[in-house]
Symmetry: C2
Subunit: 143 residues, 2 copies
DNA sequence: TTTCTTGCAAAAGCTTTGCACACCG
DNA sequence: CGGTGTGCAAAGCTTTTGCAAGAAA
C-alpha cells in the first residue's frame, strides 16, 4: 500500500475510527490531484464520478487527513483552505505567482537553519513554519 | 504630522477620497494599539469611546489602510484578518506561540537574501513574502 | 448491535454589499 | 450642490454542526 494510505489507515485504526467507502474515494482522488487543492475544488472533482458525495464529508475528511498527518492545511490568503499531501520527508516552502496563481515549491536548508537560529535566539521551540514568496513567475513577468 | 498619517491623507487626496471624522478616529486608534489586531478587536476598542461607529466602517477603513500602504493584512490561520501598521522601512517576520498566542517580530537580512536567491533561481520577481515560525515561546515551553 | 459516518440542511463566523441618509469639499 | 462615506441590516462565502438514516466492526 502507498505509504500515505497506510499511514492513514493506521491512524484510523488507532483512533477507533472506521474505514469507509467515502474516505477511500476521497483519499484516492486527493492523492491523484495536483497539490494545493481547495476543499471546493476537490469536492467538484469528486462529484463528477461520485455525485452522491456530500460537501460536508469532504470537509470532514480533509480535516481528518490533516489530523492524521498525511496532509497539511495551507492558507494562501484567498479565503480558502487548501490541502497538500505530506511527503513526511522534507518540508518545503512556496513561490506563489500573484498574476496567474501558479504555485511552485522549493526547499532551502540554509534558510531552515537560519530560522532555527532565530528561534533559538528568542527562546522559541519551533514546531512548524510557513514561508511564502509572492510575486510574478517567469512567464508573467515577461510581458 | 506622523508620517503614516501624512501618507494616508496624501493617498486620500490623490484618489479624490475624503477625510472624515471616522477615518481619523480609526487611524488614531489603530496607530495607538498593539500591532496584529483583528478587525473585530479594533472595532470593540473603538466602540468604547465611539459607540456610534459601525462595524462595516471599520472593515472598509482597514481595507483602505491596506490599499494606501500604511497597513498590511495578515492571516495567521485563525479565521480572522489582522492588520499591522507599515513601518515602510524594513519588513519583518513573525514568531507565533501556539500555546499563548504571543506574536514576536523579527527580521533577518540573511534569510531575506537567501529568499531573493531562491526566487532568482526560479525566475520569480518577488514583491513580498511571508515567513512565520510557529511553536512554543520561552514561557510556554518552560512547563 | 453498537458505534461511527454520511448527507442534507441549517447554523455559524467573518466579511462584503445595498441603501437611504449624512457629510466633505 | 455632487459625489463620497456612514450605519444598519441583509446577503455572501467558507466552514462547521445537528440529526436521522446508513454503514462498518
Amino acid at each position: 500500500m502507498a505509504p500515505l494510505k497506510k499511514s492513514f489507515s493506521d491512524y484510523l485504526a488507532q483512533k477507533g475510527l472506521k474505514t469507509t467507502r467515502q474516505r477511500e474515494i476521497i483519499l484516492d482522488e486527493f492523492l491523484r490531484c495536483p497539490s494545493h487543492l481547495s476543499t471546493e475544488e476537490l469536492y467538484l472533482r469528486l462529484r463528477k464520478k461520485h455525485p452522491s458525495i456530500g460537501y460536508a464529508t469532504v470537509y470532514r475528511t480533509l480535516k481528518l487527513f490533516a489530523e492524521s498527518g498525511i496532509a497539511e492545511e495551507r492558507h494562501f490568503g484567498d479565503g480558502q483552505t487548501r490541502y497538500e499531501s505530506s511527503t513526511s520527508e522534507e518540508h518545503h516552502d512556496h513561490l506563489v505567482c500573484t498574476a496567474c496563481g501558479a504555485i511552485l515549491e522549493f526547499e532551502d536548508p540554509r534558510i531552515e537553519q537560519l530560522q532555527d537560529e532565530v528561534a533559538r535566539t528568542h527562546g522559541f521551540k519551533i514546531s512548524r513554519h510557513r514561508l511564502e514568496l509572492y510575486g510574478l513567475c517567469a512567464k508573467c513577468s515577461e510581458t
